[in-house]
Amino acid sequence: MGGRRAATRIFEDVWKVLRSAIMPAIHPLLWGCKTRMSRSEIRRSRAVSILGDVHFWVPTIVLLGGLLLLRFLH
């Protein structure tokens, strides 16, 4: 039992280090926002905001048009 508890504690410590030090560095998208919403809610909300933003669609459509033009010219 003692060994199992010690292993669990080590696992928890490792997880804490990972979460606090490494994960924010490789995935700042999730850890940067100061909010009470859950992470999945933030991501969903952000995705909705992006997809409903004309500033996203205009450059995207122009980019697709540019790629089509390149294909046509080639």
Binding site: G32, R36, R46, H55, V58, V62, L73
Partner: protein
């Protein structure tokens, strides 16, 4: 999204002194951008072996990639980039999108020059500044309540610059024989539309508060990714590799061109931030003037040409300077600034970015809760790696046999360095590069 962002940026419009200082800074950044972007063409003139334009573009973009990571690491440190992305992660998407737009536009210009020549292609894609004014007005409330004098200054100045640019392009391409085709016209117009639209992500990022030094680090992934994909699609993997090996002796010069281009582009980004895209793009489009100065004075282009050609060059240059002057003197008024703030509020509310952060960056300063940017060991690793890669290619570079006019070259280089140091110092003193 977050409660924090619900508060508005409302408050007094930026104090007049600070506002004027930022406007002057933006104009200065636009001029400096023109000088460095124009000089970026110089190293590429040293390359005369037969490699395809797409491969030349790809190698330059690799130099650009190195610079886009090492320069921000040197100036502020990548901790600042991480902090910026943590506050506005959605902007990474726009940075990638802008990078892709740049790469496709750049490839289209290659087709345009091939099909209709520089004299027709350049004025067509230079229309990007007009489109920039349109997007700035439509999406970011630029030139709203600006008064007819400022409208006349910006729009009239841009049109005059376009005419001047056309004259310069005709003069500089007076001997090139090209087959005129509608394909080339479409390619040039397409490049103009793509480049003009690329400024939507720029302005969005800077209204939200992201530092230009942070934005370009992600922009370059879109740029390099799209350019690599296009090079592979058009050349194939094996022929592409063969061409790269063939070009190994000139890779350094092309990467150096990319590196110089990034310095200019960074100033262009700061210009877009402080004077908006409607004014920032035309100002940095003066790169054509600088490119021509390098061509004529250093590389001896136009030597022995007719008086008409010289008249076109002088007339075109004067028109461009006139246009630049008109734009530089049409800085945004307090009323227009109020509309800029409304556009910034939209971004803050929509994406849950702290209003205090957006307001602080709008005024070119750090937010109260931001940590001081600092360099870590990783920044030095980045800087030394980029330097080592450039040094490695420099060691195998062939020194081209060209007759250069050293006197004008030293003078132009000195003018560029002066602008870099002066504008860099002003940026540091006024905004600490924020």
């Amino acid at each position: 999204m977050s409660a924090e962002s619900a508060s508005s940026l409302a408050g007094p419009i930026l104090n007049l002194g600070r506002h004027r200082r930022l406007q002057r800074l933006g104009v200065l950044c636009g001029f400096t951008a023109g000088a460095w972007l124009g000089a970026a063409e110089a190293p590429t003139k040293l390359v005369s072996i037969g490699i395809s334009p797409i491969v030349i573009s790809l190698i330059m973009v690799n130099g650009v990639f190195l610079a886009r990571w090492s320069l921000p690491a040197l100036v502020l440190g990548t901790t600042s980039v991480r902090a910026d992305v943590a506050r506005a992660p959605h902007l990474v998407l726009w940075a990638l999108l802008a990078g892709c737009l740049w790469a496709v536009a750049n490839t289209l210009t290659i087709f345009a020059i091939r099909d209709v020549g520089l004299s027709i292609a350049f004025p067509l894609w230079n229309s990007n500044s007009l489109l920039g004014i349109f997007w700035g007005f439509l999406f970011f409330k630029e030139l709203r309540d600006a008064g007819w004098r400022r409208w006349f200054g910006v729009l009239g100045g841009t049109l005059v610059m376009c005419v001047g640019a056309a004259a310069l392009a005709i003069a500089s391409a007076s001997q090139s024989a090209t087959t005129h085709s509608w394909n080339g016209v479409w390619a040039a117009l397409g490049a103009g539309v793509l480049w003009g639209t690329m400024y939507i992500p720029y302005r969005k990022a800077y209204l939200t508060g992201m530092n230009p030094l942070s934005f370009v680090t992600f922009f370059t992934f879109g740029e390099l990714g799209m350019m690599s994909a296009l090079a592979v699609v058009y050349n194939g993997v094996a022929p592409l590799w063969h061409e790269l090996v063939l070009a190994r002796e000139v890779i350094f010069w092309l990467m150096l061109g990319g590196f110089i281009w990034v310095v200019g582009d960074l100033f262009q980004q700061f210009a877009a931030k402080y004077v908006g895209i409607g004014r920032g793009i035309p100002l940095s489009n003066t790169n054509q003037l600088w490119g021509l100065l390098w061509g004529i004075l250093v590389f001896g282009e136009l030597h022995g040409k007719s008086h008409t050609t010289y008249l076109q060059v002088i007339g075109g240059s004067l028109l461009m300077m006139l246009g630049v002057g008109a734009i530089a003197l049409s800085s945004a008024t307090g009323q227009e600034q109020k509309h800029w703030k409304e556009a910034a509020e939209r971004e803050s509310a929509r994406y849950g970015v702290s209003a205090e952060y957006v307001a602080a960056r709008f005024e070119g300063r750090q937010a109260a809760d931001e940590a001081e940017p600092r360099r870590t060991v990783w920044d030095w690793v980045l800087i030394f790696s980029a330097t080592a890669i450039l040094a490695a290619f420099a060691s195998i570079a062939r020194i081209p046999q060209l007759s250069l006019h050293w006197g004008p070259m030293v003078l132009l280089a000195a003018a560029m360095l002066f602008l870099l140091l002066f504008c860099g110092r002003e940026l540091w003193r006024t905004t600490r590069f924020h």
